[in-house]
Symmetry: C3
Subunit: 173 residues, 3 copies
């Protein structure tokens, strides 16, 4: 194949990479939704299969609340999933920028709905992610959630943002 064919293959692979990264987010949502109901180790393992071994889940802007590596993320998920009775996650507006052939960053908007402590809740915010191509395909390397609100339906989201319900403002979030 000549040079133009190689260029074409690079472009084709880039489109496939976008689909693979979208699929990471789809599975992220589905597995989280299952996990909030199941609290099962099988769902923890399924989630970790989306993550590079060097995964960092950091909902802080500065690493101060980062969970680093599979074992730490597993512990975080087990604690997180026990807080909810049920949940559905939606990912919107997924924007992917390639930093190299094997690394990309993403920004998206998310919503979640479900039950916490017997009450209906709604959540919204932004995901910031870094993805890497591994021998097993694309994986999350960094995941960060920047909340817009996380409130019970009864209290609502009016007021300064981020608007977080008191029960959610705990050290492990």
């Amino acid at each position: 194949m000549g040079t133009s064919d190689e260029d074409l293959l690079v472009r084709l692979r880039r489109l496939e990479d976008r689909e693979a990264i979208r699929e990471l987010h789809n599975q992220y949502c589905f597995i989280q939704d299952r996990g909030h109901s199941s609290h099962s180790d099988a769902d923890v393992a399924a989630f970790l299969a989306l993550c590079d071994p060097a995964i960092v889940w950091d909902n802080s802007p500065d690493g101060s609340r980062a969970h680093r590596g599979h074992a730490a993320v597993a512990g975080y998920l087990r604690a997180l999933w026990q807080r909810f009775e049920s949940c559905m996650h939606y990912v919107h507006n997924l924007s992917i920028v390639f930093e190299s052939d094997d690394r990309a960053s993403g920004r998206s908007s998310f919503e979640a709905v479900g039950d916490i402590g017997g009450e209906a809740f709604v959540a919204a915010g932004t995901y910031e992610d870094v993805y890497v191509r591994t021998q097993e395909g694309w994986k999350f390397l960094l995941h960060r959630e920047v909340p817009f609100y996380f409130v019970t339906v009864q209290e609502g989201w009016a007021g300064p943002k981020p608007r977080i319900m008191a029960r959610w403002r705990s050290p492990t979030s």
Copy 2:
């Protein structure tokens, strides 16, 4: 063209197939939204144009409430659309897995909002689909809705899932 070109064409077509299947879901939403207002045969026909002649719409897990074929789905839609005053559907997290070149399965999350019996409602859940490539392009072969909730805003979705309002638990749903 040599072998590598044929491989490239297969990969390119696969990406186009993903777009075509996404478009099936887009049109599904738009036509349903119109149909809930119009109750028109033109919108029923437009919806059936998305469906293989062997379409099965089965909101039960076991086929016990399956609507099989265009005529049965048309009857279901006419009954369904009359129950609502208005609706918007959204499809999220659409995950497509190809079983062969001409057949794929999908899983997605959905939301719907609108009016039923003079009250605002919200719905959420999961779509499970099978798509087939026909001479007229990709079509739905199976469509299943697994509800998370379908409630009036006033009653809300707190409580065990699926959370379905009483008026919706009828034989034709």
Copy 3:
């Protein structure tokens, strides 16, 4: 390259064009979200960078409320952003139809949530767009919003559609 390779390049570019148009909508949402908080000229400029110089933002069906060109859209955005305290936009079901290699039309569903006048609001509706390929990539040429509802959470969306809260029914919307 032979004819079939040229065809293949056209198909590949079409897929890339779809991704570029999706990205227009992603950035539309992100910049609007920032702008409602920042009210900054930098965000106005970032939004205009998504728009062809001949941009028409027309929320009326007949051009009677059209904002034509960058300066008019900038003025509209400055007024719009001051009305809200905060906002998140989501685009769903984005359906793109190519009219030519360099022009496409889009239809999508949108939701928005945030605060207006100290109260939580929810909005939903349809976007109708025209996109053109320019020397700087794909841009919006036409943007139209067809509302389903735009209401405070307290008043809700039950009732005839479009359901618009009184404070929003002003000449500049």
